[in-house]
């Protein structure tokens, strides 16, 4: 995961660089929670441009972070989501609660 924090806008950018499944999700979750509690950002963006695979473990990761961030008074956005990932986020209703942008074809 690549982490970038913009102090000015209190914006935390978390770029996921792994496939997201049950095996990898525990680590992604732990790392994200550490960064969020460290910076207390106003807005968190998950960038999925380098995520080539995700199953329902990704739903748990996003929903869990969503609840935490909301509790801390912030918002969560999902960026560069591929069409395969979008299908899964839509099925779980996540796209209704988090602004989601699609990855452009290269």
């Amino acid at each position: 995961m690549n982490v970038n924090y913009e102090q000015k806008n209190k914006l935390l950018l978390l770029e996921i660089t792994e496939e997201i499944d049950h095996h990898t999700s525990e680590k992604i979750r732990r790392r994200a929670d550490n960064e969020i509690t460290r910076y207390m950002p106003r807005k968190v963006i998950f960038d999925f441009s380098n995520v080539t695979f995700m199953d329902s473990a990704g739903i748990g990761v996003v929903l869990g972070r969503y609840k935490m961030i909301k509790m801390l008074g912030g918002t969560l956005e999902l960026k560069n989501v591929s069409l395969n990932l979008k299908k899964i986020f839509e099925m779980s209703g996540i796209t209704k609660i988090c602004p989601t942008t699609i990855k452009q074809a290269i």
């Binding site: 499944d21 329902s56 899964i88």
Partner: protein, 166 residues
């Protein structure tokens, strides 16, 4: 068009979470002979990942067991059977419901079976408490003609990142 392929494979591995990626890639590589689209391959990988994960975390919980996958190519369809000899499911109807999960503490979303049902053309769950669980899924690959070059292209996409990091 009638496919020329009739094929079968069997895969068994230890219920360790680091086998989840290996399992879905193997099934995808086997399915490649039907020349699926990138989206069809992605649907298959996701569904396999759901069923394999379920065997590991729900079937065997923290114990070690064997997850078994049988794949068959019949005509233009792939049939995938994923089974464990773990604890089994008490109420299959309840388990299939969207958002139902027995492990919310692990941040499971309860969407596994819903995804399998929607990404594959058919899905069947058989389970006996204390004996184990078997999930059978079928997907029809809608293709006109298959060439070895098409298949090489599909194989090259399996497990590949959509954008290169180097």
């Amino acid at each position: 068009m009638k496919s020329i392929y009739e094929n079968e494979m069997k895969l068994e591995f230890i219920s360790k979470s680091n086998n989840e990626a290996f399992a879905r890639i193997s099934v995808a590589a086997f399915a490649a002979q039907l020349d699926p689209t990138v989206e069809e391959i992605s649907d298959i990988k996701t569904s396999v990942s759901e069923a394999v994960t379920n065997s590991i975390i729900h079937g065997y919980e923290d114990t070690e067991g064997i997850v078994k996958i049988i794949c068959k190519i019949i005509g233009n369809s792939i049939i995938i059977e994923i089974s464990d000899t773990g604890k089994g499911i008490e109420n299959i109807e309840e388990a299939k419901k969207p958002l139902y999960t027995s492990k919310p503490n692990l941040e499971r979303s309860g969407m596994g079976f819903t995804i399998m049902e929607s990404f594959m053309d058919e899905m069947k769950i058989e389970s006996i408490l204390g004996i184990g669980t078997k999930v059978t899924m079928k997907k029809l690959i809608k293709k006109e003609e298959i060439t070895d070059e098409d298949i090489s292209k599909v194989l090259s996409q399996i497990g590949q990142k959509e954008s290169n990091e180097n």
